[in-house]
């Protein structure tokens, strides 16, 4: 683990460093381009900090070991890309249902299927939200710089522990394989999971406002019952009653929805009543930001809006923007964030600039802006 200071490294390595700063206790993963550097780096560094490193036989085993690790009391993580992320979906749903804090890094590449393993894409945005069966909400963050690969990894752990839920760091090959300066501060703020107090007996339900029950470790003597089946507050399986399903699933969703304000995060520039607001996220948002800056310097009233937390989406703010401005979504995929943005801003005043496989230049984005506003 690196000392506080400034470094010039790859996004994936910064992610690994962020994880260690956040208190990573167990990493389990399986190699895949373009995410492998996260594990390659941790294989070497994590043991020095006392953390356990495991290369598993596949991605299903990886996410499973991560969940086991979390219940042993450790902060746990895995990193993968599209094909592996698809394989993990069943057990991500299990983590949601059992309220297991853990971080899943998806360094997106150009899909579908094996696609182009070294090329960036953001075709997993909707998958990160809906890839597992059943009703659930999830938190996902989309970094656009090496510094954010570090910072957002830390925040992913914090959100995960805070809300006792899996968090997806939705990176892309652009930002994962990019090298930039980034700074490890002297102090990194970390959040630890809620632990049971003497009085707690329910670890799967709560009447507290934040909807987050306390979580003990295995081995503490609570006779824990953890199950991915529908269950009551004490963990007892209930595979039939309407009430159990209704209460559990609604609370799990509320845990994210009712805490949106605390979770949401975005960057914006000149979005109030601009003629056109460009929405973008991940690596491609860099040239988009550059183009917006340029357009503004050239006197156009153009705004820039970038969700940093992509799920839950900053829907209220996007709706506001959509009311006052035309919007252009720029993304590295055909479907990406499109349905959600359209839901928020409507389809009438929405332009799309979707580009597959590679990042446009500032110039190219600028031209698109001109096409639209002229």
């Amino acid at each position: 683990m690196l000392k506080p200071g400034t470094y010039f490294m790859e996004g994936n390595e910064a992610c690994a460093e962020g994880a260690m700063r956040a208190g990573l206790g167990l990493y389990a993963g399986y190699p895949i381009t373009p995410a492998s550097e996260v594990m390659n780096h941790l294989a070497k560094e994590l043991p020095k900090t006392g953390g356990r490193f495991l290369q598993m036989e596949d991605e299903i085993a990886s996410i499973a070991a991560v969940i086991g690790g979390a219940w042993s009391g450790l902060k746990s993580m895995t990193a993968t890309s599209g094909p592996g992320f698809s394989l993990m979906q069943e057990n991500i749903g299990y983590a949601v249902m059992t309220e297991t804090p853990c971080v899943i890094v998806d360094v997106q590449r150009a899909g579908p299927s094996t696609g182009q393993a070294t090329k960036p894409g953001t075709g997993d945005v909707m998958q990160s939200r809906f890839g597992s069966h059943g009703d659930y909400e999830i938190i996902a963050l989309a970094p656009n710089s090496v510094q954010e690969m570090f910072d957002f990894t830390v925040r992913s752990f914090n959100l995960s522990e805070r809300y006792r839920t899996p968090v997806v760091l939705l990176a892309d090959a652009g930002v994962g394989h990019m090298r930039e300066k980034f700074t490890i501060p002297e102090k990194v703020k970390t959040i630890e999971r809620k632990r049971p107090k003497e009085v707690d007996k329910e670890f799967f339900d709560t009447h507290e406002e934040d909807h987050v029950p306390p979580m003990p470790d295995f081995g503490e003597g609570y006779e824990l019952m953890v199950t991915g089946s529908t269950h009551l507050g004490d963990g007892t399986r209930d595979t039939a009653s309407f009430e159990a399903q209704d209460r559990l699933v609604r609370r799990l969703n509320a845990k994210i929805n009712d805490n949106r304000e605390e979770i949401e995060d975005w960057e914006e520039m000149g979005c109030n009543r601009a003629d056109l607001v460009l929405i973008s996220y991940g690596s491609i948002s860099r040239p988009v930001k550059g183009a917006v800056k340029k357009a503004r310097e050239d006197g156009y009233d153009i705004g820039f809006f970038r969700p940093k937390v992509i799920w839950p989406s900053p829907e209220d703010r996007m709706k506001e923007i959509g009311k006052n401005s035309e919007v252009m979504l720029v993304e590295l995929s055909l479907q990406g964030y499109r349905m959600e943005v359209e839901r928020c801003v409507g389809s009438e005043n929405l332009y799309i600039f979707d580009i597959l496989n590679s990042l446009p230049t500032i110039e190219q984005v600028y031209e698109k802006i001109m096409e639209v506003i002229e």
Binding site: L26, P47, K48, G51, R52, G219, Y222, E223, M225, T227
Partner: protein
Amino acid sequence: MITTKDIRNKYVKNYPSAFCPGCGDGMVLNAMSRAVEKSGIDQKKVAAVSGIGCAAWIPSPYWKVDTLHTTHGRAIPHATGLKVGNKDLEVMVVSGDGDCAGIGGNHLLHAARNNIDLNVLMINNGLYAMTGGQVAPTTEHGEKTLTTPYGNPSQGIDICNVVKHSGASHVARWTTYHMNELIKEIERTIDIKGFSFIEVLSQCPTRTGKKEGLSGVEMLEWYRENTTKNKEEEGIYVGEIQYVERTELTEEIYEQISKRGGKPR
């Protein structure tokens, strides 16, 4: 002398169970409880991990230890994370034949290869009971099940043999008829550092039983008559199949950590 009542009070909850009358799964729970009691280990440190299926319900929600009832086939990798996360836990895995050797076969193979210190009980009732009695990897060639109405075109696997050759320290087979031996064998797995695997042939009077017209009692009798503790004799061998000492994964990992100056949290 410890009676059933003591065992029930100390180790069992949520009974009566959802198991059918005469099901072997309750007998396994009985055996596990007595083994833990005998071994003298701290019940708080016992963790039971299971997948999905009738057998997977044995610990969850019935066993009074920490239980992790996971997804179908994935008990072993979940258990791996738990064990590597905290090596002081005594991690038991309880899994059906379909769960463990069917969908979960790859994890079984690699956990055996890693020789990680888990104690795996595979409850073999020869089919997929919970979903209604479909063919399993343990079903014999030609046998009729719900999905092999014309006889199983495939063949059953001797999973103990596979696990043995994958690198496990300890492999054994018993049946629910062999309660005393089973208890002793489970107790042994607790002592053994390394991957322990016990196949337990166990009756499913509802699915197999119905098909073959056998009751739970008759199936236990069948076990008695068709098993042998003598490897040379005909019949299904029960007893120890493998015991060797090999490097164990968790220990290796902890050692690497302390060698690199890390302190396992």
